[in-house]
Symmetry: C2
Subunit: 354 residues, 2 copies
Amino acid sequence: MSTRRATIADVAREAGVSPSTASVVFSGKTPVSDATRKRVLAAASALGYTGPDPRAASLRLGRSGIVGVVFEEHLGTAFLDPVKTLMMDGLADAVAPIGAGLLLLRDRDSWSKDGAAPSLTTAPLDAAVLIGCSGLLRESLDVVRARGIPVVVVEGDAGEGIPRIELDNREAQRQAASHLRMLGHTRVATVTLSPRAGAARGWLTPDDENDITIEVTRDRLAGVRDVYPDAPAFAAAGSFIDEGLAAGRELFADPSARPTAVIAQSDLLAAGVIRAAEEAGLRIPEDVSVTGFDGIVVDGLAPYELTTLVQPATDKGRAAGAAVAAMIRGELAASIRFTCEFREGNTTGPAPGG
Amino acid sequence: MSTRRATIADVAREAGVSPSTASVVFSGKTPVSDATRKRVLAAASALGYTGPDPRAASLRLGRSGIVGVVFEEHLGTAFLDPVKTLMMDGLADAVAPIGAGLLLLRDRDSWSKDGAAPSLTTAPLDAAVLIGCSGLLRESLDVVRARGIPVVVVEGDAGEGIPRIELDNREAQRQAASHLRMLGHTRVATVTLSPRAGAARGWLTPDDENDITIEVTRDRLAGVRDVYPDAPAFAAAGSFIDEGLAAGRELFADPSARPTAVIAQSDLLAAGVIRAAEEAGLRIPEDVSVTGFDGIVVDGLAPYELTTLVQPATDKGRAAGAAVAAMIRGELAASIRFTCEFREGNTTGPAPGG
DNA sequence: TTGTAGGCGTTATCAC
DNA sequence: GTGATAACGCCTACAA
């Protein structure tokens, strides 16, 4: 049957009231007599009316209840990262009270020429959260701002007047380095996250270091440099255990130049480095100390407990959500800088022979 | 400045054309003279008009370009599972061509009484994809159907006339079991996924087995039972390496009753079982064979390559997306049953002493 | 190729 | 407590 779905007008007619009254029964904005309400509800269920059409409501109200979350990678890749995953949780929590849901948007191919792409340009968004730090971010930002949509940036360079949610990456990483120095380590190496989008795995030359476009990587490395200006740095191609493993193999390849401590820029990388150390017959922490970053639970790493910097990933998401919620209400939101907490585990110890 | 945003009417006026002409310039549905187009575009950029308001367009067109994806857990938990993550990727791919994006929806607390929840009831959805297998699914299903929204169910019991995307879980798992039998194993144990929402870890009694509400768990167990009717079964509380580790410890606790092969219902569980075996000083596959399920890349499991059933996770997502797309176009979509592929790795071998 | 007119389904406002 | 009215911003027959 191609009989069109019932509208609130149909319900009103059936119930013998005006459309506005019927509307009010559903929105609850204005008191309605019990008798009327009952009649309207009865009519609604008789006609199979399940509530106002969200599309029409959103046009009328000027709000869709949808917050866009923009990733710069394939969704699958994004969610491989436990930190992002936790952030999403916080974000979902924080926007729930304002009745909003999260719309997943990909950065790349937002400009596919056939215009079919579901994108920042065409989605009915109340606000947007941009995650990451690439150059594409800039572009996305322009689109959103042109549309006049409130936007918050997490871990990226936002520019004038856009609330950011960030971390004290440099200071935090410096703590880990200081910890190692206090333990007497002098031969220290660091394993960094990707220095720039699409970069391959490999040693970082000083020149490379001046050319790091990903903020997180740059800041954490700076924290290491504050304490160990000359520590060799090896860049991984992503935050995975297997990347850490590959990096660790490089680090431990030459027994004579072997570091006694490794500062990894993420817990997953650290887990890989630990595996590489085991492979090389090194004991943790007797022969090699390893620190991570993030404070996530690395599935399968037991019995080790990483010495790491615990970042408030969920809170970051929640803050982003709260900022977005505030902006939707017309208030202005401030940038927030979160602090990591140093947590000592059993993967760091005194420098051997120290 | 509270000056209202420019509309297409403003642009038309500014360009000295009619609204419909301006509209056509943006939609491209009808040829427009170059001169006119240029004038309209100029007017648009002069007024800061960035294109049709998606809210209004969606009311008019009856489509919002949004597909809801309903999870029954916290988003963070959902994305911890690589299989779900891959599915999301496939889903995103498949709905992109119809210009749709994915709206994340949580099943729980969709009924919070303050009506603020962003939910199946209030989101402007063109279609919905339900994932999982809980009782809540039933409820969600009713909501969606009442709204007359096309819906597809992945790995769950849908009921009359709703397209499902499923796997040949039982047959596939039976293959793994047969493989082990062919290798001469007789003392076999299995580690299952959660038998029911919220269940704790522990041995499954025959009674328990009759009371498994989660379909995947039940079907895969049935596959084992087809070959090993009496193999002891231990239920994990989720698909994590650490759960597999805990299960493995139970399995290997008593040296006299130790199995020579373990059939795990997921790769992550299998990885944990392998760790437990290593802990117990057992060699893989010389002392113990282990099989997994899913065929994902387990980060950090190298050098082992699991003997496992490879499920087409991305394709599942793509199929769900395609089904949804078809239904949106008004066609009807059929249920699809995917087949897993048995892949032999280096974690299974002949029964010791066999 | 361009313009005119009507309506998509709702809800805020303001009278009654 | 209830009802009439007027947008919200856009799209698409259809007519010119």
